[in-house]
Symmetry: C2
Subunit: 590 residues, 2 copies
């Protein structure tokens, strides 16, 4: 069975050495000193590796069962969920007035990586609850907040997000779920929703569904969509649970992975719902926390990659097979460990350099979100809004790729479920799809975010990279900055191509949108590796007491610069080939 | 449920328009005129789409069961297997004297794609039998051939290949299976083998295991390995089945995919075995048909990609979601089909241009194998031997990637088992692992094949590409040849880098081996697209009666040249970064 060890040291490095968070001006960050975050990460890490991770295989093997209208989660989930609740983890960054800890989003992101890496399917129950609670927090009336948030903060009640219907996912304007206004101000909700993660289960007293639907008689299409709170059990005035609402599980889906999470078809049959936020502004309400939600999914890509990588490393050091081409390294043994072989190292270094770069990118993104929300820093908010599709799309694509590579280290054993490597890839696969499929992320990036606010966020990003390169281009940093400069030039070249061609022909830009999302991602991780190289060079120059750690950071930075970053050249060429290759074939000729 | 349509027209195009096989000098090819191959492909295609493909989901869902020592294949497999046998398909390219059809390997490869695309797990039962029969054909005594080949040619008896043991896969020198010589010339085989595809099942009267083991007292390591025939039921003098042999199934493996195939742990307990080929030359005997076997696995990568692509196209044309950015294309409907969106097309064109290029590459490889085996063309044999790791490694890597992309077209529906898209990826995943994991293919290519026969095969390959470019670099062909030239230059640059650095430091070459395998693959597909472009330009100039088909080939060729081939630049940069980035990190720092 695979194991999981919390990468606490690396997270601490990013938080304190690279991002220097406790010196940041973001409200609440001053308290985040090294000891404080270490205590949190250690406690979360212990729960993750000792309680949550051992249930990962169980969850995959047993899955959820749906019998007589009741969903049962896999053995051990309920007890573990109680432990998570007791530790107060679900409310880590929710307001203290509702029972949360009021910590920054940054900290819940760091902790989220540990829980997701240990067991994605399990962690989604609290993740969805957090998303629903966040929407109520922003858009709810005082009454709604008082009714739902304390119970959701503790995860006594869990939450869901209901968007997709059988015939529409991305294009929610097509939705058919109806809401009929009632005299008492509530609505009767009817319709069917599919792919509802954590839709129902046996770990909470109540399930609070956030449901998108159209108020009868409202505008057509997406402009007529509103968001409703639909509790599984209606809540009495005194907060106790009342009658069962008209919402039921139709079935649970058989999926490729995340078997431990109950993905439901939900049927609403004149269920009582309460409008959340403004009428016909449901999309806005649902997507208020979009940056966080999408960064959270990007985090899942990284988290699965980390978990898979750890196990690939264990196997590569343990499994004896063949001899090093430069001479036996384990001459007393029957063969050398796999890790002596260059191609195994190439594979592991690909994973490692992605993971550590992605972690820095993700935590930086979380810091920007805090700076925007808590600190009112509109530049930070604009920047993270620009990078959100990259955080989601690139980290989940490359995270999935990393899990496939980790599986490959095991050879045939990677294909057998017994070893658990297949589960990492099957679980990681969903993150490329949900919360906006990655093609939609690319469309969001190129079709919307680039031009947002007159393009000022992307210009700010370019300036930031340019400034970094200018200030650090000499001496020991040159070997890291030169490749970053080249990659950044490719990214700017792509932006230029879009500017010059996208207006005349939108397809010229959109044909290269996916390449651009990746190109952006490579540059972001390149910038992170540049910052980490600078951090570690400085630490070494200042006589750190852990020189090996920092030297290894430099080695990994060099790998990323030499072997990953050159991808930007190919991506630029693809982008500059424009619309014709993509659009020329008639639909019927496919 | 997914559907499957045999891509007969495209195969015919490659066989006749591109490769012009009936004018080839390879023995047996003169009979392969267009009508003849079409009749075969039509018959095989009908069986594939109507009988074999509908069992693909069944096989995945039910899997094989192992109860009371008996393995039961999924519902319908047995009846379908009878139909395959009745059609004489398993013996298509086996000798007529044993009941086969004596057709070229090329034809069985073309047919193999159809069967594998329809149902990989099912088709493996005959595939493994074919592999075992081929080894007996080359290395068996007349007696062994007479005893086993007629029954294996018909698939009344199926075959297996037993290499892997729990502690060794790639490094077979470590194997522990023992063979004790008996007075009658037979051996007693004892040991455990794992990952034995089609190891036992209910579709054949007997299972003929080819087992690698060490004769007691023989040389250490790989030089002491011999190959044995170990039938499940011993065969009497008159050919009837005798006593049950000492071989049994320990368990069947729970796998990520190919559930319809029984992957067994096989226990040999003093089982009677018969030496096949020379004593201590077991590896050679097992790997005699290696080029075919590896090309066959490359074919599986392509076949799964084709099947997944077909279904992705159906969905992309059917599913209405969003509007074309250039204006509604289905204004009467609620939304436009997915296929109007540039990123969906980019995804589908990636798949299509890979599949068609890969098919040409594969069939060309099969032609070279026939030219070597049947025609004694040593240059052809050397060339295909060089390209075999590319055919296996590149086609399975990119084939898998294509299935993941096809799944992505379905959004959330791609993650639900109901739609079948997940199965394509789960089944395709194994081809990157078995028959030599792709990292081992890369090692074979760079560590062995490049330098084979003084490097003459790789020089011949370079010459061939150069000649093609020189002869076709002008006029309408320039747009196709220019990118091919650039890619070929990158490949030669990589070869040069290995020559200049690999002798001093083998790690400098092996660190880039995987990149080189892909670089080689891109150039091979580029060459194929160059040839197809030339073929279709000529057909159009000559007034073909199917101009649309050829114009679409040119469009797809342009896509490949513009958007896939530029990858060679990045791969060369990775290779030229050498050993340091890959080897610098101490093993304990991973």
């Amino acid at each position: 069975m695979p194991s999981y060890t919390a990468p606490t040291k690396d997270i601490q490095y990013v938080l304190h050495d690279v991002l220097n968070i406790s010196n940041s001006e973001v409200p609440g960050y001053a308290d985040l000193d090294r000891e404080f975050t270490e205590a949190i990460l250690d406690a979360a890490g212990q729960l993750a590796s000792e309680v949550i991770a051992p249930l990962n295989t169980v969850g995959d093997t047993e899955g959820c069962t749906f019998e007589n209208g009741v969903i049962t989660t896999p053995t051990g989930f309920k007890a573990a969920f109680e432990q998570v609740k007791e530790g107060g983890w679900p409310g880590l960054d929710l307001p203290e007035e509702y029972g949360g800890q009021g910590l920054p989003y940054l900290i819940s992101t760091a902790v989220g990586e540990l829980f997701s890496g240990a067991n994605q399917a399990f962690t989604m129950y609290q993740g969805l609850t957090h998303g629903a609670a966040s929407a109520i927090l922003v858009h709810g009336t005082e009454d709604q907040k008082a009714t739902y948030l304390p119970k959701m903060t503790s995860c006594d009640w869990t939450g869901t997000m209901n968007l997709t219907e059988p015939h529409c996912g991305t294009d929610l304007g097509l939705m058919r779920t109806k809401a009929e206004p009632q005299d008492d101000g509530s609505y009767k909700i009817s319709g069917q929703k599919i792919f509802i993660s954590a839709g129902d289960h046996d770990m909470s007293e109540n399930v609070i569904h956030l449901v998108l639907g159209k108020i009868v008689g409202g505008p057509e299409g997406i402009k007529g969509v509103s968001l409703f709170i639909v509790p599984k059990f209606l809540v009495n005035e005194d907060g106790s649970l009342g009658a069962r609402n008209g919402v039921s599980v139709g079935s649970i889906e058989e999926k490729m992975g995340i078997h431990g999470n109950s993905t439901c078809v939900m049927n609403y049959d004149e269920a009582t719902g309460y409008l959340l936020g403004d009428m016909h502004k449901g999309m806005r309400a649902m997507f208020t926390m979009m940056n966080e939600a999408r960064l959270g999914v990007g985090m899942q890509g990284l988290a699965q990659a980390e978990a898979a990588y750890q196990n690939a490393v264990i196997y590569a050091k343990d499994r004896l097979q063949g001899r090093a081409v430069t001479g036996a390294e384990n001459p007393e043994g029957p063969a050398d460990p796999l890790i002596v072989h260059p191609d195994i190292r190439r594979n592991l270094m690909d994973q490692k350099s992605f993971i550590e770069g992605a972690r820095a990118f993700m935590l930086w993104g979380a810091q920007l979100i805090d700076a925007g929300h808590k600190g009112g820093d509109t530049a930070a908010e604009g920047l993270v809004s620009l990078m959100t599709p990259v955080l989601k799309g690139f980290l989940t694509d490359k995270g999935y790729e990393a899990t496939v590579n980790a599986q490959q280290v095991y050879g045939g054993h990677g294909y057998i479920e017994e070893w658990g490597m297949s589960q990492f890839t099957r679980d990681a696969r969903i993150a490329m799809i949900y919360e906006g499929a990655n093609g939609v992320q690319a469309l969001d990036l190129v079709g919307r975010k680039l031009a947002q606010d007159g393009g000022k966020h992307v210009m700010a990003f370019f300036d930031m990279v340019k400034t970094f390169c200018k200030e650090n281009g000499d001496g020991d940093m040159a070997e890291f900055v030169d490749p970053l400069k080249a990659a950044s030039k490719d990214l700017q070249g792509a932006g230029m191509y879009f500017m010059q061609n996208g207006m005349k022909n939108p397809n010229a830009a959109l044909s290269g949108s996916y390449d651009f999302m990746h190109l952006f991602g490579y540059v972001c991780l390149g910038l992170m590796w540049g910052r980490m190289a600078k951090t570690s060079l400085t630490a070494l120059a200042n006589g750190t007491d852990d020189p090996e750690f920092h030297k290894n950071k430099l080695i990994t930075a060099r790998y990323y610069m030499a072997r990953s970053l050159p991808m930007t050249g190919t991506l630029l060429k693809r982008i500059e080939s424009g619309a014709d290759p993509v659009m020329a074939l008639a639909a019927e000729a496919f």
